[in-house]
C-alpha cells in the first residue's frame, strides 16, 4: 500500500506542477526565455545576469541548442528571443535581427608548427587534399591532418564561402562540433590544421594551450582586427524576435546592444559592433 501512496503523491506532485506552470505563465511578463546558438549562449547568459541585477525582478533564462533551434523557437514563439550565429536562410524570413557582436574565423595550427602563413591557394590545396604533407608548405615531413566542422555550422559556412570551397570537395581527417573540440584536437596533434573562432583561440592561447593562429590575407588574426573590420573572415552573432519586440524583450535587446555590455562581449572573446 505504501507503494500506491507514493504513486498517488507523485501524481499529485505532477498535477501541482501543472498548476504551477499556469502561475509561472501568468507572471511571465517578468521572465524572458532565450534559446539557440551554443556560441552565443554563454555571452547572452552573462548579459542576462547583468540585466537581472539592473532590472529586478526580471529574469532572463538562457537555453542553448544551436542556431536552427533559436530561429525555429523565435518563429514559433517557444522562446521570446532566439540566438543565432549564422545568417537567416530562405524560409526563415519574418524575424527581426538584432546584431550583438562580431566573431572572426581563423586557421589554427599546433604551436610547434613552423609554418607562419598560408596563401589562399595553399589553404584550398590543403583542404581539398591537393597538398598532403607539411613539407610541401615549408614544414616538417608529416602528413597534414585536416580538421573540418560539421555540416550546418556557421563557422563552416563562413570559412567555405571565404575560400570559395564546396563542402563536398573538402577532404577532412577529423570533423568536429564546437570550437573547443577543434582547439583540443589541434593542440593534441602536431600536424593538424583547423579553423575556429578567433576569440576562442585567443583565450586558449592566453592560457597556454599550444596552438597558433594564422593570419588571413596578411592581416593578423585578433579580436582587435575583427572589431575594426580589417580581418576578412567574420560572422555576426545576433538576437532574433518575431516582428517588433515590446515590453521586457525590447528593454533587454536595447541593453544587449548598448555599450554597457561591451566589456562582457570582450570577456567572452567576441568583438563589439561599432555604432
Amino acid at each position: 500500500m505504501a507503494r500506491t501512496r507514493i504513486v498517488a503523491l507523485l501524481l499529485l506532485a505532477v498535477f501541482a506542477g501543472g498548476c504551477g506552470v499556469g502561475d509561472a505563465a501568468a507572471a511571465s511578463g517578468a521572465r524572458l526565455v532565450l534559446t539557440g546558438s551554443s556560441t552565443v549562449a554563454p555571452l547572452a547568459a552573462e548579459i542576462g545576469k547583468r540585466f537581472e541585477e539592473l532590472n529586478p525582478p526580471a529574469r532572463v533564462d538562457v537555453q542553448t541548442g544551436g542556431s536552427s533551434r533559436g530561429i525555429a523557437d523565435a518563429k514559433s514563439g517557444a522562446a521570446d528571443i532566439g540566438m543565432a550565429s549564422r545568417a537567416l536562410k530562405d524560409g526563415e524570413e519574418g524575424l527581426t535581427v538584432f546584431p550583438l557582436a562580431r566573431d572572426g574565423v581563423a586557421l589554427i595550427v599546433h604551436a610547434d608548427n613552423p609554418v607562419r602563413e598560408l596563401s589562399r591557394d595553399e589553404v584550398t590545396g590543403v583542404f581539398t587534399g591537393r597538398i598532403q604533407r607539411w613539407s610541401e608548405l615549408g614544414g616538417p615531413d608529416s602528413e597534414i591532418t585536416v580538421v573540418n566542422k560539421a555540416e550546418g555550422r556557421a563557422t563552416l559556412e563562413v570559412f567555405l564561402a571565404h575560400f570559395g570551397l564546396d563542402n563536398r570537395e573538402v577532404q577532412a581527417d577529423v570533423v568536429i562540433g564546437d570550437n573547443e573540440q577543434g582547439v583540443k584536437t589541434v593542440a593534441g596533434n602536431r600536424s593538424a590544421i583547423g579553423y575556429v573562432s578567433v576569440g576562442t583561440a585567443e583565450l586558449d592561447i592566453a592560457l597556454g594551450v599550444p596552438i597558433r593562429l594564422l593570419p588571413a590575407g596578411g592581416v593578423e588574426a585578433s579580436t582587435e582586427n575583427v572589431a575594426n573590420g580589417t580581418f576578412p573572415i567574420a560572422r555576426q552573432l545576433s538576437l532574433l524576435t518575431p516582428g517588433e519586440p515590446s515590453g521586457l524583450a525590447r528593454e533587454f535587446l536595447t541593453f544587449a546592444q548598448s555599450e554597457e555590455v561591451h566589456d562582457l562581449i570582450a570577456q567572452q572573446g567576441f568583438a563589439p559592433i561599432a555604432r
Binding site: 507523485l10 506542477g17 506552470v21 549562449a41 538562457v62 537555453q63 517557444a78 573547443e180
Partner: protein, 282 residues
C-alpha cells in the same frame, strides 16, 4: 591424468581472472586519477557553494549542485516505484500472461537502446511543450526517469527471479497474501540486486548530457522550484569542456565533484539496501 592436468589449468585461469580484474580496476583508476589530478586543485568549499561567474570560467557550482540533486531526486522518485512495480509484475505475475509480459519486456529492451539525444528531443517535445512544464528540473528528472527505467527493471527482475521458487510456494502454503509475500520475502531477498539496478540506472541517468541539455536546460541561477530551469553538473562539464574557451580547469573540478557525488550515491545505495533488507527481513 585428469587430476594432474587440472591444477595447471586452474593456475592459468586464476592468473587470467586476476589480470582481467586488474585491467578493469586499472583503467578505472587511470581515468579517475587523470580527472582528480587535473581537477582537485580547483576544489574548495567556496567552489562548492558559490555561483558560477564569467560563463563558468570563474566562480563555483553551488546552484548547479542544487539543480543536479533536484533532478536526481525527481528521477529516483519516479523511476524507483515505477521500475519496482514493473519488475515485480514481470517476474511474479507475467508468467501466466505471456503475451503482455513479453510485450513489456520487449519494449523495455528497445527503450534501453534509444539514443540519449533522442530522449532529449522527445523529453523536450513531451514534457516541456505538450505537458507545458517548460525547461525545468521536473522535465529533466522525468526524462531521466524514462532513461533509467530499462536498466533498473532488468536488474530488479533478475534479482527477483533468483529467489528460489520453493520459498514462494512456502509462502503461498502458509496462506500469506501476495502483498505480504512481496514485502516480507521477495523484496528483502532481491534488495541487493535492486540496489545495483538503481545505482546503474541512476548512474547512467545523471551522467547524461544530451538528454538534459534539451529538458532541464542551461540556466545557472539557483533554482527556486522544480519548475525552474537548472543546469546539471554533466551539462556544465560538457559546456565548459567543449564550448567555453579557458573552461578546462573548472570543467575538471566540476567533473571531480560529479565523481565524488557518484561515489557517495553509490555508497548510500549499498548501505541503504542493506539496511532495508535487514529491516524488512525482521
Amino acid at each position: 591424468m585428469r587430476e594432474l592436468r587440472l591444477p595447471a589449468g586452474e593456475r592459468v585461469a586464476t592468473t587470467l581472472m586476476w589480470a582481467a580484474a586488474a585491467f578493469v580496476a586499472g583503467s578505472l583508476l587511470w581515468i579517475l586519477g587523470d580527472m582528480i589530478v587535473r581537477g582537485l586543485g580547483g576544489l574548495s568549499p567556496a567552489f562548492l557553494t558559490s555561483a558560477p561567474a564569467d560563463a563558468g570560467r570563474a566562480g563555483g557550482i553551488g546552484p548547479i549542485l542544487v539543480s543536479t540533486l533536484a533532478i536526481l531526486a525527481v528521477c529516483i522518485g519516479v523511476a524507483a516505484p515505477l521500475g519496482l512495480a514493473t519488475a515485480v509484475f514481470l517476474s511474479e505475475l507475467a508468467v501466466g500472461r505471456r503475451g503482455f509480459g513479453d510485450l513489456v519486456r520487449r519494449s523495455l529492451d528497445a527503450l534501453a537502446a534509444v539514443p540519449s539525444i533522442v530522449f532529449g528531443l522527445f523529453g523536450n517535445a513531451l514534457f516541456c511543450h505538450v505537458l507545458g512544464l517548460g525547461f525545468s528540473i521536473l522535465s529533466g528528472g522525468l526524462t531521466l526517469a524514462c532513461m533509467a527505467l530499462p536498466l533498473l527493471i532488468r536488474t530488479t527482475e533478475e534479482a527477483l527471479r533468483a529467489v528460489p521458487q520453493e520459498q514462494r510456494l512456502g509462502a503461498a502454503a502458509l496462506g500469506l497474501s501476495r502483498l505480504t509475500t512481496l514485502r516480507r520475502l521477495l523484496l528483502p531477498a532481491a534488495a541487493p540486486g535492486i540496489g545495483a539496478g538503481l545505482v546503474l540506472g541512476v548512474g547512467r541517468a545523471i551522467a547524461e548530457t544530451a538528454a538534459l541539455l534539451f529538458t532541464s536546460g542551461y540556466v545557472t541561477r539557483m533554482p527556486g522550484s522544480l519548475l525552474d530551469s537548472g543546469r546539471s553538473l554533466s551539462v556544465h562539464v560538457f559546456d565548459l569542456a567543449m564550448n567555453v574557451p579557458g573552461g578546462n580547469e573548472n570543467a575538471y573540478a566540476s567533473a571531480c565533484v560529479l565523481v565524488l557525488a557518484l561515489l557517495a550515491i553509490n555508497a548510500l545505495a549499498v548501505e541503504g539496501t542493506r539496511w532495508w533488507a535487514r529491516r524488512a527481513a525482521r
